[in-house]
Each structure stands twice: as structure tokens, then as C-alpha cells.
Symmetry: C2
Subunit: 500 residues, 2 copies
């Protein structure tokens, strides 16, 4: 296979393309010419016994010599290359698992081995963004049955590391998003870890929302911890709140989530597989899942929530998890802040039992912490919430939270964004409706979650009586451009809050 003539010298170009592997070769490169490579060809690049697959971009400037090869940062990191390393390039053998993706596009059912082959290729970086998008789309919109979702979940669990805590009971919780500001997780971990349960919590960053738990926690502490570091924190404090991505738990999920974000979709099957694969790989045994239901929440009707509950519990069972799903009110945002820093402020207020702490956020955290405490079998049915409340009110939860943050590397007080604008009521009346999607969009346009201190601080709740000129909410941004962008969206959409 002409191995010797396909050798090129690595040059660092410093091009960051997020997750996608891109390889750069000069148009006069003898390998390009003799192998018939053209732009966007998928190529295998090897260094010693390691190899990756990347899409080719062809260079016709002096950025590269014809005998040189460049890689995007993601690709360079995966292949662990240094300047002047010799790399070997070759045609990509056909990716066999794509035949399963095509079968799925044509509505065929996939079995465990098909999903396993797909997920293995995804984790190895063999799929381009085009392939990933097709896989996600082909599996979206109810196109996977419950058996397929279980297969996919299992394939995702085994695609990465799996933790074992050597404990009989390891608890976890998850909220099916769509409810801005609903940041109960840090509160729940603090409460149940203070109670004595083991809760090694790995969370996601935002997919389509203005903040994920990992984004919010990153304001307060480090969330990018190695597995060894996570183990040390949990052994010491009984709990942690870290980003799941670096723990290499269900690594396929991290790749898929980025594409879902670009498409702005969350499909039921991928959602279940994403949530439960992370839980199972993290070594959990008992999981409470919160599904908020509301007209503008992610789940809009009790019927859909009930179906999702059934599917979650069935798939949980199939992969060996004790899953309890709690359906909650999702008609309005929870707490006051929407965006990482603003949500972190809400969390601290609740933990410190401050007078202006958001009551609704506290109530939800107590309900879910209570369910976990009951699920563990350590208190009587119906006594969980009460137990949780005692722990919170005593200050034990706050102390545990600070201890966890410090064990994770730091505790930092949140700082608000410099650019703000106050949005006031144009008329008096009753606040009848808050559009969760539009308020989330507004927070995203203001810069959240990339700009941590950007977002929305809500000053009102549903059914509240509003006077003219009453402060409805404040938009926070880290730049004037973002503030204006959010404001422009607000000016074009006058039904974000409906006063009647």
C-alpha cells in the first residue's frame, strides 16, 4: 500500500474546530495527488499504532509546504502529535456501521450489536458531523421503540468508563430540562450527602438551554475533574457535582449532544439513552427523575410526560437501574436567575436560608431530595421531604456544599455581569403567562451559557398583580453587543411575559 510515500511532517497550525477532526494538506502534496484525495474526503491519519479519521481541507497558500500536514486542535490532541512528527495518511476503509444508520433512515429496527458498532465508531471519531446529524435525525421523532432505546443505552454505557463505588446504594437525580432556572441538583447533592448517602453527581453542560448544572457549578467551583479526583472528593464528602464529559462516562453522549445543540432538538430516545447511560456508567443504583410539565416546558402535556415516565422506568429496569420518575409543575421558571451566575446566586441564598431565597426552588429541591432519601429505604414513606428540610434548615447542607466545592478545588463567590437593562411593565394587570422558551432564548442571546454571568433575573411570578412600571426582569450581559442583541429580540417578541 505504498506506505513509505504516504508520510508527511506535522506542522501545528493552531486551528480550533471544536470536536471535529480536520486534516490540512497542500494541494501540491504528492499524497493528495497520488491518492486522489480532494476536499472533504475522509482520511485515516496514523502515528505509530494510533490513528484517527479526519475530513480533508486542502490548502493552496504557503501556510503549509507540500510535504507538511496540519491537524485541527481536536485531532492533534487525539493523536497526541508534536511539531515535526511524521504522520502516515491512507484511504479510509469503508465505515461498516454507516449501513446501520442507513437502515435506520429507512425505518428498520436496529439490534444491540448495530447500536454498539455505531457508538464505537462515534467514540473513535470515525463519523463526520454529517454522519452524526443523520444518525441523530434518523433516531429522532419516535423512530426508536423501547427495545431500541434500551439497546442504545447499553451501547452508550459500555462505550466508556464505568465506575464502581463499592456501595450498596448510590443515588442520583436528573431533571428533564426545559424549565429555566430549575437548578435543584446542587441543593439535592448537598442535602443527601449531608444525610449520609453517596451521590457522585456528574452533570451536563447546556444542550439547548441557557445553562446546564455543570455550567452553573463552574461559577462556584471546578467541575472538570479526572476520575481519580472525583473518587477522592466522593470518598471524602460523600458527594460531588462535576461535569460528566471529562470523566469519560458515556463519551458518545458528549459528541451527540453537540450536534443536537446545533440542530436544537432533543429526541425522546436519545434523551433517555443520554440520561440513563450517564447514570448507569457513573455507578448509580437508585435514580429520581424530575419531569416538569407545562405549555412551554420541554414536556408540554401530562400524556407525553406519562409516556416518557413509562419509557424511562422500563429502560432503567433493562439496564439495571431503580428509577423513580416524578412529574412536577413546569408552567414557569424556577427561582429568579436564568444563566450560570444568576442561578448560582439563587442556590447560595437557599443554602444559607436567606430571607429572599427563592421559595419555589427550595420546595422543589426538598421534594426531590426527599424522594431520594425514601428511595434509599432509610426513612419511612412520606418522611423524606421532612428529613431533607431539617438538614437544609440546620445549615448542614450549606456546610456540606462548601466542603464539596473546596474538595473540588475552590469556592468562588459569583460576580454579576457589568451590562444590564431593566424591563418594566408597560401596563398594570395580572401576570398570566411566562413563555419558558422565549425567556430561555432571551437569556441565550444575552450570552448564557458561554458568558457565565449573562442571563435574566426574574422579578415576578405567575398570577402576581403587576403595577405599571413594575420591574419585570433584568437582562445581564458581558458585552454591549450581546445586551443589544437580547434587547432586539425582546422588542420583536412582546409575548415573553403576558399581562392581562
Amino acid at each position: 500500500m505504498e506506505q513509505h510515500s504516504n508520510i508527511l511532517k506535522y506542522k501545528n497550525l493552531g486551528i480550533y474546530t471544536q470536536n471535529e477532526n480536520v486534516v490540512y494538506m497542500h494541494e501540491d502534496c504528492h499524497v493528495c495527488i497520488s491518492e486522489g484525495f480532494e476536499a472533504l474526503t475522509r482520511i485515516r491519519i496514523s502515528k505509530a499504532t494510533n490513528s484517527i479519521v479526519a475530513s480533508l481541507n486542502v490548502i493552496n497558500s504557503d501556510m503549509l509546504f507540500p510535504n507538511e500536514i496540519g491537524l485541527s486542535e481536536a485531532a492533534a490532541k487525539k493523536l497526541n502529535v508534536s511539531e515535526n512528527d511524521t504522520l502516515y495518511v491512507s484511504h479510509l476503509e469503508p465505515i461498516e456501521s454507516l449501513s446501520h444508520v442507513r437502515a435506520k433512515i429507512y425505518n428498520q429496527k436496529l439490534d444491540y450489536s448495530a447500536f454498539s458498532e455505531i457508538i464505537t465508531d462515534i467514540v473513535q471519531g470515525n463519523y463526520s458531523n454529517i454522519h452524526l446529524s443523520a444518525f441523530i435525525t434518523a433516531c429522532a421523532g419516535d423512530r426508536m421503540d423501547i427495545t431500541e432505546i434500551s439497546h442504545l443505552t447499553k451501547a452508550m454505557i459500555t462505550s466508556g468508563k464505568q465506575l464502581n463505588w463499592y456501595e450498596e446504594i448510590v443515588v442520583d437525580k436528573h431533571c428533564i430540562g426545559g424549565l429555566p432556572g430549575n437548578r435543584t441538583t446542587p441543593l439535592i447533592v448537598a442535602i443527601v450527602a449531608a444525610y449520609g448517602l453517596t451521590m457522585p453527581k456528574t452533570s451536563s453542560r447546556a444542550i439547548t438551554s441557557p445553562a446546564g448544572t455543570a455550567d452553573t457549578m463552574e461559577v462556584l467551583t471546578n467541575v472538570t475533574l479526572s476520575l481519580e479526583e472525583i473518587k477522592t472528593v466522593v470518598e471524602k464528602e460523600g458527594g460531588c457535582i462535576v461535569w460528566g464529559g471529562t470523566a469519560q462516562l458515556s463519551p458518545a453522549d458528549d459528541v451527540l449532544i453537540k450536534i443536537e445543540k446545533a440542530l436544537d432538538i432533543d429526541s425522546e430516545g436519545q434523551l433517555i439513552a443520554s440520561v440513563l447511560s450517564k447514570k448507569a456508567a457513573a455507578g448509580s443504583t437508585h435514580v429520581v427523575i424530575d419531569i416538569p410539565v407545562g405549555e412551554t416546558a420541554k414536556v408540554r402535556s401530562a400524556e407525553v410526560a406519562q409516556k416518557l415516565k413509562n419509557h424511562m422506568e422500563t429502560v432503567g429496569n433493562a439496564v439495571g437501574l431503580n428509577v423513580k420518575v416524578v412529574i412536577t409543575d413546569g408552567t414557569q421558571p424556577v427561582g429568579r436567575g436564568i444563566g450560570p451566575t444568576l442561578e448560582a446566586i439563587d442556590i447560595l441564598k437557599v443554602l444559607k436560608n436567606e430571607a429572599d431565597a427563592p421559595f419555589d426552588l427550595m420546595e422543589r429541591a426538598l421534594l426531590l431530595a426527599g424522594e431520594l432519601i425514601e428511595l434509599s429505604g432509610k426513612v419511612k414513606k412520606g418522611k423524606g421531604t421532612e428529613t431533607a428540610k431539617e438538614i437544609l434548615k440546620s445549615g448542614k447542607a450549606y456546610n456540606k456544599f462548601l466542603a464539596i466545592c473546596k474538595a473540588q478545588g475552590r469556592f468562588t463567590e459569583p460576580v454579576l455581569a457589568p451590562y444590564t437593562i431593566e424591563i418594566k411593565a408597560e401596563k398594570a394587570g395580572i401576570l398570566e403567562r411566562i413563555d419558558n422558551r422565549k425567556i430561555a432564548k432571551l437569556a441565550k442571546l444575552s450570552g448564557a451559557p458561554q458568558s457565565k454571568s449573562a442571563g435574566i433575573l426574574l422579578n415576578v411570578h405567575l398570577d402576581e398583580k403587576i403595577e405599571e412600571n413594575h420591574l419585570l426582569y433584568t437582562i445581564y450581559a458581558e458585552s454591549k453587543g450581546e445586551l443589544n442583541y437580547a434587547l432586539e429580540y425582546k422588542n420583536y417578541h412582546n409575548n415573553i411575559l403576558t399581562i392581562t
Copy 2:
């Protein structure tokens, strides 16, 4: 909107990414920082009143200064920029038509205006490859009904230029691929143009096959002609055989086809919309469509072919075309050559009435040319093929073909590839089966269609009696690497030709 601070100076980086718009900015660029841009963010870039949308790649080397901006070649061409031009960058307003793509993912029906908005955004380059892949996948696998296919077809017709030949009858033909070597189009154009009909033929390049008609014709003549040039050729000769891409007919199709190629899928709805939108936009009135049916052809059963025939005729009717679908035998390759140059050689042999001209290719061309002549109403039913045969045998078709090639800019004799290997029968027997897909794959691995003279020259037909060591086919390649790559595939797949 801080217009003044968002200005950057263009630097040509010479990075070729095929069709995709990519923008390069330095990580220390004040615009990146103040706007919160990160890698893969979609950004609007403007020069004066023109603008495009591109995905951001972030640079951390000295390839760019922080006040500079780079663009992929495709993006630079669309925006028509020169070194040191000042460009203005801004956040991308939400792409509203993506909500229709999401609706389609969730199995909702789309109306004409939804398809029209999607296609308009695609033509303007507002969709990333991730979005395009999702749109194609969501519409694949029977997920569009006949009304939706008609809407999509109409949207694609109106997305580009539309030709008018000011003739009552303008004929065209199309073959639903999957049959290697089935290159009847150039023969049909030569015959019907010699007969006196108007046939301004625009063809595609290969999607998933080793050659499209445009790839094959490019061996013999220029196929990349402007609309003005096409008009001149057709006015002079009554016909042309050009690539449809530069004519800006149904431009969305050219974008979608590249993604379909990466996914290696052709869905029924996209197929119909692709074919009929090109025909209608090219100003055709009467169209014959050939559907070869065979176990390893694109269409595998008479049932599927019949359904496709009905849908093609219904959609044709809806967009104002007189469509006749002919279902033909698709059990084996047509002619001897598979790959642009090898197919061009077959075509010339038929036109010159040479003794070793492939009989099957000639027969198919006469059948389809005959159908067109009959569809035009100029000869009696059943007399079309006879008329076509007279024109071919008289040499008029050959003369017309040469005249068309010359009118298109040149006539070049085909030249074979330098690297070859002969594959011989390992045992005696009857040739029972030819796997069209595998033989096409073999031709593609040998380099076709990018390497024009690469491909397969078949020496046998179905049901032929084969002696041991009889030459079955020859693999042609332009490089040793490609020859070995094809050979390796052949060695791993021993059922490409089945002798029993």
C-alpha cells in the same frame, strides 16, 4: 449594534473546504471576545450590502493577527472579497426555516411555503452541513408524501434560474441510476437532435456511482458552460450535454447532492424532486424516465419501480411536465466500461457503428430515443425505435454528436489509465450474477469519477459460458495506490461476479 467595533481585515488563507463556508478568527480577536463567539458558532459576515453565513474556526497561531479574518475559498468566492478588504461580522439572527426541519423530524407535513423557506436558506448558504444532513435524513425513507414531494420540487424549481426555449416541445430524459456503465444520454441527445427535436440536456455528476453523465462527457468535451453558452450551443445544434450545476438550475439540488453523497443515500422524495426540478427549470416539456430494475440496481423490485413510476408521473403532472416512465432490465451493467473514460469509449463505438460496439448500450439508447420521438407526437406509436435506429445507422447521430462537442468547446479522444490489472476466472462455469453495487464500488475505489480514466472494463455478460483463466474484467487506475486499494477490496469480496 456596535457596527464599528466589529470590523476586521480580510487575509487570504487559501483553505479549500468544498462547499462549506468557514470563517477563521484569532482567539484574541476583540470581536470574538466581545461577541462571545466560540468555535463552530454560526456567524454572519458582510461586505458592503452582501453577506454570507459561516461556521467559525478559532485560530491560536500567528496565521492570523487578532484584527484579521480569514474565509474558506467557498465563502471568499461567494462574498467576492480581496486581500485587506474590511469585513463586518455579526451574530446570526435565528434561521427561522430550521423550525420546519424540526417539524419534519417530528413527522409533521410541510407545505409549499415551508419547503420554499428551507430551500431559499439552503441556496443562500445559511445551513451548515449538520443542518443539511438533518433535512435530508428527515425527508428520507418515505417520510414525504406525494404532495410534499410536489411542494419540494416546486420550491427547488423556483430557487434558481428557469430557462425558456420558446419551443412547443422540449424533450429530456433521465435514468434512475444504479446501473454501472448505463450511459445512454449522449447517444439519445445525438439521435433526437439529429432527428430535429430540441434537447438541451443538463446532467449531474456522480452522486454515489463511479460516473455521472457530466463526468463522462467531460472526458470528451467541456461540460461547464454558462447559460449564454448553453443557449448558443442549443440554438446551433438543437441539443447539448452539459453539467447542470453551473447553469444555476435548481441550485439547492447541487448542495443537497454533496451531503447525500457523504451519507451514501438517495431517498425517493429527494430523488424525484432532484430529477424533476432540474427538468422543469431547464425548460423541458416532455420527459422520458428510465428505471432499471434488478436485485443489485438502485431499484430492486418491480413493485418499488411501479410506485416510483406513479410518483414520478404524479409529481411531473403537478409541476407541468409530460412525464413517461419506462421500466427496464437492471440485472447487469450496460456496455463494457464503468468509469468516465471507459464509458466515453463505449459511446463512441456505438456512434461510429463499430463492430465491437456494446449491443446492449445501443439497444437501450434506441428504445429511449424512440420513446422521446413518440412522446413528441411526430411519429406513429410503435415507430419511434425504428426511426432512432435509422438515424444512428446513417451516421447522422455521430456527426451531430461531434458537432455538439465542438459547439461546447472541444472534442477530445479518450485516453486510458496507465495502471491496469486483469482479473481472470479461477474456475470454468456459467456467469450467473454480477453484483452491480460491488462492481461500482470497485470502480470507485480505483479512483472513478475523480480520476477520469479509472474504472472497470467488463469482458463478460450474464449467462455467458466462462473457461478457466478467461478474462473477466480489467481494473484501470491512475495511481498504484488506487489500483492496490481496488484490488484489496476485490480480494476481500469474492462474490462480485458469481460463476456456477
